[in-house]
């Protein structure tokens, strides 16, 4: 490894602008003539719109235009869609209700947009939005997915009878039933995976600019996925033709999945710019973000795990109801199905698995992918039930896991996935050692002497990253392929630009991708620039989510680098009068192996463009592109151990130790990878102990600000002990698996297993707030 190449802990190139206040986020963009928008939003969870009166608002100071859903519809702008077609087990397609970018006749969640006001200033836009008079006829609302599927529940969409979107299954029901019927022991649990709000610190924002002279649209948006935004807005929503629409996602202040989706606001701002003749900027305030960002999780699950007399897992049966909110967001249907149920083998060899999933419409914000998307829900089910089983069987949770680990690869699970490589015992051992698992009982006794209840819990997660291959996801219902694109441009003076379809919103691509180039060609990372997030610069891309930037995005770069290298070697061989096969690239030079003949990189680059002396027939220039379509998912896995102390008087939980041992395959920049794990753990611990999105029965979001939704703060978290083992992924050229979601996947069950161990009551829901823990503790001591 070089000092800047693969494996080096290089400080990030992009940090310079962020630490000096020179980052450029959408809200920082100013376009000449730009005006400001505010949305009129429904205060009701479920209501018919009887009338919208915009007359008074139009007369307010500074107002340029007030536009409603009827007008957007009249202009032929399409409804929002869900891009993953799921079929129910009876073969019928999922039931998608219409979602207009602004509601026309009915609203289905608090915060749904019904009109937009464009005015000179943001303050004026907001004032005028308050002057829009909407008459609503309130309808009964339903918040909870289980209740939404019950008879007599309020109906949300005429297309989805009984609010059921689909009733889907995977695996072999008969085999799983048989395993359970003949088991020596069956562990049963009912689990709720609490609803979360992603809460990227940068609120969503959009700036739409229609240029009349050019008949061209530009949209700056807080997107993880600008190319997909462009294709969806053009091909499906009819906002603009694809070749006349440029989508730019500049610096984006965190995404965690919530910025993959296309939301009504960017569509409406683009359209409103054309309608009003001015560039239109909208920036969400935090309460708008709470109300309208896609939420995450919200599953209710019943699980049964069967064991034989030797404590081997023989079968698993899972029944899940998932809440998809008032409308189906872009990826929503894939989350509780292909991203969830396909991981229900966990790290274990289980011969029979069956999972049934029903999804429901409710009068809540749409629910879609959030950090991990389906994988955290699956891991929570698996790791809570295994730990519970160990307690019931009276065996060590670590040993019960170890006994059932998959040890031979490749391994075909009964639920589609074929795990390519892994060493689960290695992560378990590493975590147990780092956590001094063996010394726990002594620590528990010591804590008891101080009046504290100490508990330990573990979780051995697996996830499927780098979502792929295109053909497979296509057959599963995805609307687009899931490859990635890259272009490598070697400039005349030898500096290099890498254009990638991945998008960085905190993951440090400008550094890691440059490290990859440095490793190949020896060009210093300062001379390598990474271009992303602009559909006018990068032709095509699939964005960043599901930890795909390394495994898929960098693999595309590798393919382009291969082509650049081949041509560079040809040029060097010609100039050095050597055989192409003898050229090696080392320390920024092209050399003839075994001789002292060398050609500096920049001279080769100059020669490519000067084109005075190139091999016969060679095209001048040095620029290559590639698309990479992976052959399989990648399977990061690891073991997390959490140790807590609970104060029995108050129910307060303190995390006294948190250990993560992950296997991410090969790693480009360990510093950045560790940072990803830290951030993921914070979100996972947040889910376990603090965060919960709550609606009241009428559908009002009662956690709609940071005063009510408990975001983890520095004082809520410990420092983390992280380590990695690196079983290379055989499926991609770099052996990378992906690291972005692990923390959020592995930590919730580890934390809850620890708290339940401490309090001696397994019946505990997330978030395990002091009140919840205290109540569970009282219930336990009563028994």
């Amino acid at each position: 490894m070089g000092i800047e190449g693969i494996g080096a802990r290089v400080a990030r190139k992009e940090d310079k602008r962020f630490i000096t206040g020179a980052g450029r986020y959408v809200d920082d963009m100013v376009v000449p003539g730009m005006k400001h928008a505010a949305f009129v939003r429904s205060p009701h969870a479920h209501a018919e719109i009887e009338s919208i009166d915009v007359a008074a608002a139009k007369k307010m100071p500074g107002v340029i235009g007030v536009l409603t859903g009827k007008e957007i519809k009249a202009d032929g702008i399409g409804n929002l869609i869900c891009g993953w077609m799921i079929h129910s087990k009876d073969g019928t397609p999922m039931k998608m209700g219409a979602w207009s970018p602004m509601a026309t006749d009915r609203v289905r969640f608090v915060g749904e947009a019904v009109a937009i006001v464009v005015a000179e200033t943001k303050g004026q836009a907001r004032d005028a939005a308050e002057a829009v008079v909407v008459n609503y006829k309130e309808l009964p609302a339903v918040i909870d997915a289980v209740a939404a599927l019950e008879e007599g529940a309020p109906q949300l969409h005429p297309e989805a009878e009984g609010n059921l979107i689909y009733d889907w299954e995977i695996g072999d029901a008969a085999a799983a039933d048989k395993a359970i019927a003949s088991a020596a022991h069956v562990t049963k649990l009912k689990l709720v995976n609490n609803r979360l709000v992603p809460n990227a610190m940068e609120p969503r924002a959009a700036l739409g600019h229609y240029d009349k002279a050019e008949d061209h649209y530009t949209c700056w948006t807080t997107s993880q996925n600008p190319h997909v935004a462009r294709v969806v807005m053009s091909a499906f929503y009819n906002v603009a033709p694809e070749n006349k629409l440029r989508v730019i996602a500049p610096d984006v202040g965190g995404g965690f999945g919530s910025k993959i989706f296309i939301y009504p606001e960017e569509i409406v701002c683009l359209w409103a710019s054309k309608k009003t003749g001015v560039p239109v900027k909208w920036v969400a305030d935090r309460t708008e973000s709470f109300l309208t960002d896609a939420h995450g999780r919200d599953h209710v699950t019943e699980v049964q795990m069967a064991f034989d007399a030797d404590n081997r897992m023989t079968g698993l049966k899972v029944d899940t109801i998932a809440n998809l909110g008032g409308y189906m967001s872009l990826f929503s249907s894939s989350v509780p199905t292909y991203l969830y149920a396909t991981l229900l083998s966990g790290q274990y060899a289980i011969p029979a698995i069956h999972c049934n999933v029903r999804t429901a419409y409710t009068n809540t914000a749409p629910v879609d992918a959030y950090r991990g998307a389906g994988r955290p829900e699956a891991t929570y089910v698996m790791e809570r039930v295994v730990e519970t089983a160990a307690r019931e069987l009276g065996v060590s949770p670590a040993e019960l896991r170890r006994k059932n680990f998959i040890t031979e690869f490749p391994y075909q699970t009964p639920v589609i996935m074929a795990y390519d490589a892994g060493d689960y015992a290695a992560s378990l051992d590493a975590a147990m050692k780092a956590a001094d698992y063996a010394g726990f009982e002594a620590r528990r006794a010591e804590a008891k002497s101080r009046g504290k209840l100490r508990g330990i819990g573990m979780s051995c997660y697996i996830e499927a990253c780098g979502i792929a291959p295109s053909q497979a996801v296509g057959s599963l219902g995805a609307g687009v392929g899931l490859w990635e694109s890259a272009e490598v441009r070697v400039n005349m003076a030898g500096t290099i630009e890498v254009l990638t379809g991945s998008h960085s919103h905190g993951q440090g691509h400008e550094t890691t991708f440059a490290q990859l180039v440095n490793q190949r060609f020896g060009v210093p990372i300062e001379q390598v620039s990474i271009v992303h997030g602009d559909t006018d610069k990068v032709q095509m891309g699939m964005g960043t989510y599901g930890s795909r930037s390394g495994a898929v995005g960098m693999s595309a770069i590798v393919k382009a680098l291969d082509k650049v290298e081949a041509k560079a070697k040809k040029i060097a061989a010609h100039l050095l009068e050597a055989d192409e096969a003898d050229i090696v690239i080392e320390n920024g030079e092209l050399k003839v192996a075994g001789t002292d003949k060398t050609l500096p990189w920049f001279q080769m680059a100059l020669a490519a463009y000067a084109a005075h002396n190139l091999p016969a027939g060679m095209e001048p220039g040095l620029k290559e592109g590639a698309f990479y379509d992976p052959s399989n998912f990648t399977f990061p896995a690891g073991c997390y151990i959490c140790e807590v102390e609970v104060d029995p008087d108050t129910g307060t939980t303190e995390i006294v130790q948190f250990v993560a041992a992950d296997d991410f395959g090969n790693i480009i920049n360990p510093m950045i990878v560790e940072g990803q794990v830290h951030g993921g753990i914070a979100q996972g611990v947040g889910q376990a102990l603090l965060e919960g999105c709550r609606y009241d029965q009428s559908g009002q979001l009662i956690t709609a600000s940071y005063m009510d939704y408990t975001m983890p703060r520095a004082g809520d978290l410990p420092s983390f002990t992280v380590s990695t083992s690196n079983t290379p992924c055989p499926g991609n050229p770099l052996g990378i698996k992906g690291c972005g979601e692990a923390g959020a996947i592995g930590s919730p069950p580890a934390v809850i297993n620890a708290v339940t161990d401490a309090i001696g009551n397994n019946d505990l829901t997330m978030p395990a707030t002091p009140l919840t823990v205290w109540a569970a503790l009282k219930a336990a001591t009563r028994h």
Binding site: D15, R17, M201, V283, E674, A714, L717
Partner: protein
């Protein structure tokens, strides 16, 4: 409307603002100093922290008019020319940022915290002093590390200077 005047990052600036204009909006919109961010509307997140007369304040929770006559330092004014402030340098060295959105507020809060604790800081103090700042990306682990390291450097520097 109010006429206001203040010294921002060493430069005297004036403006005519609506009475309801918050300091953060004056900095961002009138002065184009977009390093100061808005992350919430309830004064909870700390993305907007600047120094007002040498003290860290949430610039979203005071009116621009209230700040008239004061000296303001924003993230753009923290470095000494091309030389990063030690807290900025420590955030980079210890990977105390990911998306960078909370970072200006974190750095401004950290600088103030270190100044108030010339005797040095420990992890517990740093964590409790960060009460007013939210980061969704880093899990705080590396932010805490960066602040401790910067405090160390700066108190050594102070000791040398003394």
């Amino acid at each position: 409307m109010s006429e206001i005047e203040m010294v921002v990052n060493g430069r005297t600036v004036t403006g005519n603002v609506e009475d309801r204009t918050l300091l953060v909006h004056f900095l961002r919109e009138n002065l184009g100093l977009t390093g100061t961010h808005v992350g919430c509307d309830t004064s909870q997140c700390g993305a907007c922290v600047v120094h007002l007369d040498g003290k860290a304040v949430k610039s979203c929770s005071m009116l621009a008019a209230q700040a008239s006559g004061s000296t303001v330092v924003t993230i753009e004014g923290l470095a000494d020319g091309a030389d990063l402030h030690p807290v900025q340098a420590a955030f980079r060295e210890h990977h105390g940022l990911q998306c960078g959105f909370c970072t200006p507020g974190m750095i401004m809060a950290a600088t103030d915290m270190i100044a108030r604790h010339p005797e040095g800081l420990d992890e517990k103090t740093v964590r409790s002093e960060l009460e007013g700042n939210i980061c969704r990306c880093t899990g705080y682990h590396n932010i805490v590390k960066a602040i401790l390291a910067a405090s160390e450097t700066m108190s050594k520097g102070a000791a040398r200077a003394a």
